[in-house]
């Protein structure tokens, strides 16, 4: 094995935060590919440019995704990274593992790959970092025979991901782990065989804390919420106060809807005006908890800034029940994809298509009524579309009003 001197990246072995360079070197001790990856990286640091080529199309039989092809321009200098493809393994819901399962994953990877991983990728996959084209089929056979499948890539459903939710959090409004698993299973075909105009991501958070950043990073963000009052345990409120919490400053005055009141004794909430933002609940988890019906808000459209600026997901379905077998959610997803399919140009994310075609076209296709909950504020300009049916409806309403003598506006 070549021995690289790496004065620049060695600098990144210093300091308290765990060092990825140390990790790379650890793998490099026994792995040629990892060893060349170290040398290759030092080269980048010294010249301040990268040497990876545009990805090539590589993969496993019958799948259109799951592997990111990667080749170096410096394949001769660093043969271990001439090919350096990543394999995306679909992680289990909420990233729970047993040591047994992970050891198995490591064993296979040491055998066929670089011994380097990303635990996890930004989308959520367990990313195996660097292998050669001819190892891919074997790697897939090894993993899949043990119950692990590939994640998504390309113009496909991407690996869904969720927050830790009911497994270890008191605030989950639905079972994020189970929904994540169920949707991943339901849409295996869409995940493995790119047939969409572009990528599509699901992320599921159990509440407005959004610990999986769904509103910013998923085409479909499924965020838990409730319909009902926040129950207040006044004894626990008193406890927080006695432990030094300034309830007015920290809670009441920070409530965005100003629907709380605390007189030093009793904490009152005008629940009708609460927007369920979670601030008070997170800060007084022993004293406050939601009650009533549980479900989720469905938001659509987030994406990164390329090329006209990032999008955050938009509220589309203010409230939906999320209970096994999740038929309502799955039906909705199918309708969403159908409309997207009918309307997208290549490389158009769903948010971009909604922006192009208008929210109305989308809502009508997925059979959701217009609701003020979907918007932050109404339109400002007077340039509106009206269908013939709209006009008929307006006129009918006016006729009705004439009859009853009462306006309905």
């Amino acid at each position: 094995m070549k021995k690289y001197t790496t004065p620049l990246i060695d600098e990144l072995e210093k300091g308290p935060w765990p060092s990825f360079v140390t990790e790379m070197k650890k793998a490099a001790k026994t792995n040629e590919m990892a060893n060349d990856a170290v040398g290759h990286l030092e080269k980048c640091y010294s010249t301040k440019v990268g040497y990876w080529k545009h990805g090539g199309i590589v993969g496993v039989l019958g799948y259109g995704g799951g592997v990111i092809g990667r080749y170096s321009e410096l394949g001769e200098e660093f043969p271990g990274v001439a090919h350096f493809h990543t394999v995306r393994i679909n992680q289990p819901s909420a990233f729970f593992y047993t040591s047994k399962a992970l050891r198995e994953i490591c064993d296979i990877w040491d055998k066929y790959g670089s011994g380097l991983t990303n635990v996890h990728g930004s989308t959520g996959d367990l990313v195996l970092l660097g292998t050669k084209t001819d190892a891919l089929e074997t790697i897939f056979a090894e993993y899949s025979s043990r119950g692990w499948d590939l994640g998504g890539s390309g113009s496909a459903l991407r690996t869904p991901s969720c927050c830790v939710g009911p497994a270890r959090c008191e605030w989950a409004n639905y079972d994020t782990l189970d929904l994540c698993y169920s949707l991943t299973q339901e849409f295996q075909d869409e995940l493995h065989r790119p047939m969409f105009a572009y990528k599509f991501k699901f992320k599921m958070s159990g509440c407005a804390c959004d610990c999986v950043a769904s509103i910013a990073r998923a085409d479909m963000s499924i965020i838990g919420t409730w319909k009902g009052d926040i129950l207040v345990d006044q004894k626990e409120v008193a406890n927080y106060a006695s432990k030094g919490m300034d309830i007015n400053a920290e809670i009441v005055n920070m409530c965005p809807t100003h629907c709380m009141n605390y007189d030093g004794k009793e904490l009152k909430i005008n629940n009708a005006e609460c927007s369920r933002c979670m601030h008070c609940i997170t800060r007084m988890t022993k004293a406050l908890k939601p009650s009533g019906e549980r479900g989720a808000t469905i938001c659509i459209g987030a994406k990164a800034p390329i090329v006209v600026g990032s999008l955050l997901s938009w509220v589309v379905v203010p409230f939906i029940k999320v209970e096994p077998p999740y038929t309502e959610v799955k039906d909705l997803i199918r309708k969403i994809w159908e409309w997207w399919d009918d309307n997208a140009k290549p490389r158009e994310r769903i948010g971009e298509v909604i922006e192009m075609k208008g929210m109305r076209s989308f809502l009508e296709a997925i059979e959701v009524a217009p609701m003020p909950q979907q918007i932050r504020e109404p339109r400002k300009d007077p340039f509106m579309f009206y269908t013939e049916e709209d006009m008929v409806a307006f006129k009918a309403k006016e006729a009705e009003e004439k009859k009853t003598g009462k306006y309905k506006f």
Binding site: A208, I215, I223, T225, K227, P256, T257, H258, A272, E273, C274, S275, R276, C277, T297, C299, G309, L311, L312, S313, W314, V315, P318, F319, E355, G358, M359, R360, L363, P370, M371, P372, Q373, Q374, I375, R376, E377, P378, R379, K380, D381, P382, F383, M384, F385, Y386, D390, M391, F394, K395, E398, E401, Y407, K408, F409
Partner: protein
């Protein structure tokens, strides 16, 4: 009578010749004012001088006879000095307190209405309508008259949480302050324009007409040496009609009015705000537009009952949320209220927090 010698580029007369002595003396040195009632306020100078203002409603369309009546009154009580406001009311300026009550009595006797000062509804900024503009799809003055007849108590005496600024525009050109009003009416077309093909090539330029359409609904129609309009894409802005007379967009049964709310101009407390669409369509109902008037009155009343002191309509709505505005007023939420144009991105909700 010979026509006098014209002059050009002289500009308006200098304002100072129209200022009453009390203003000249206290110019830039006013200390404070007090609103006495919706019709009267007094400004006090650092000098101790006082100036009473009596504000009088105006229909804005004035016959010279009425202007002369204003002059008569001003001569009697104000040494001939008076002014109009930026919202087209008349203001009589009284520096001699003893003339204040007689002035008010006289105004009342002549049928003039005093009001609009303070937390009130004042005159409605509006436009030409059928009285003078070719572009109008309703009559602005008529709507204003019908509205203000209903809202008169808020002009003359009843208090509101804060000023409520109303406006009416007779087409989407919006020659007024509709786009930043507490409540406003904008007249809208709702039918795809038709093209008189036979006149097109003589009167219009093809590229100009095609370029005029913001939604690219217009394409060449070579067979007719004219253009055709894609009905799916047309949002009735009328811009094509403005640039090309053979295009016609007016339709008596389909033209109507929309109601927008929540705008403001000043920067007190919160930034200036655009008005937002809440009722997309009400049929054009001259001579008194009963439904539009009822809608406006209803919104004013819900605001009066729910807002905090000093909150403008838009501030109140932003505090309670638009979803609550719709539920409190009972106004139907329609697809038209969802922006599908310039500001779509910034107006959709990007958070699971809202009220049921």
């Amino acid at each position: 009578m010979a026509i006098p010698q014209r002059k050009t580029d002289i500009g308006p007369p200098k304002y100072d010749q129209f200022l009453p002595p009390v203003i000249k003396k206290n110019y830039g040195k006013w200390k404070y004012h007090e609103v006495i009632n919706h019709g009267t306020m007094v400004h006090v100078g650092e000098s101790g001088d006082k100036l009473w203002t009596v504000r009088v409603a105006s229909p804005r369309i004035l016959a010279t006879a009425t202007i002369r009546e204003h002059c008569d009154i001003a001569e009697k009580y104000c040494d001939g000095f008076f002014r109009y406001t930026t919202r087209n009311n008349v203001e009589f300026l009284v520096s001699d307190e003893s003339k204040l009550e007689p002035l008010k009595k006289d105004l009342t006797a002549r049928g003039f209405k005093m009001g609009g000062i303070g937390a009130a509804i004042t005159n409605v900024v509006h436009t030409q309508g059928w009285v003078h503009c070719h572009s109008a799809c309703t009559d602005a003055s008529g709507l204003v008259k019908a509205m203000m007849d209903e809202l008169m108590p808020y002009f003359e005496s009843k208090d509101l949480p804060n000023k409520v600024r109303l406006a009416v525009a007779c087409c989407v050109n919006m020659c007024g302050a509709v786009h930043c009003s507490d409540i406003a009416v904008v007249a809208v077309h709702t039918k795809v324009p038709t093209v008189a093909h036979e006149n097109f090539k003589n009167m219009c330029e093809l590229p100009t007409v095609i370029g005029s359409c913001p939604t690219r609904a217009i394409s060449p129609d070579p067979a007719n040496k004219s253009v055709k309009i894609n009905a799916e894409k047309c949002m009735y802005c009328g811009n094509c009609f403005t640039v090309c007379p053979p295009i016609s967009i007016k339709d008596p049964e389909r033209d109507g009015v929309a109601i927008v709310v929540g705008g403001k101009v000043n920067s007190l407390r919160s930034n200036p705000k655009f008005s937002k669409l809440v009722i997309p369509y009400i049929s054009n109902e001259p001579p008194r537009w009963p439904k539009a008037v009822a809608a406006i009155k209803h919104i004013v009343e819900v605001y009066a009952a729910n807002a905090r002191k000093h909150e403008r309509i838009g501030e109140w709505i932003e505090r309670i949320g638009w979803e609550r505005f719709f539920s409190l007023t009972g106004i139907d939420f329609t697809f038209q209220s969802i922006d599908d144009f310039t500001f779509m991105r910034d107006t959709m909700r990007t958070s699971s927090t809202f009220k049921w």
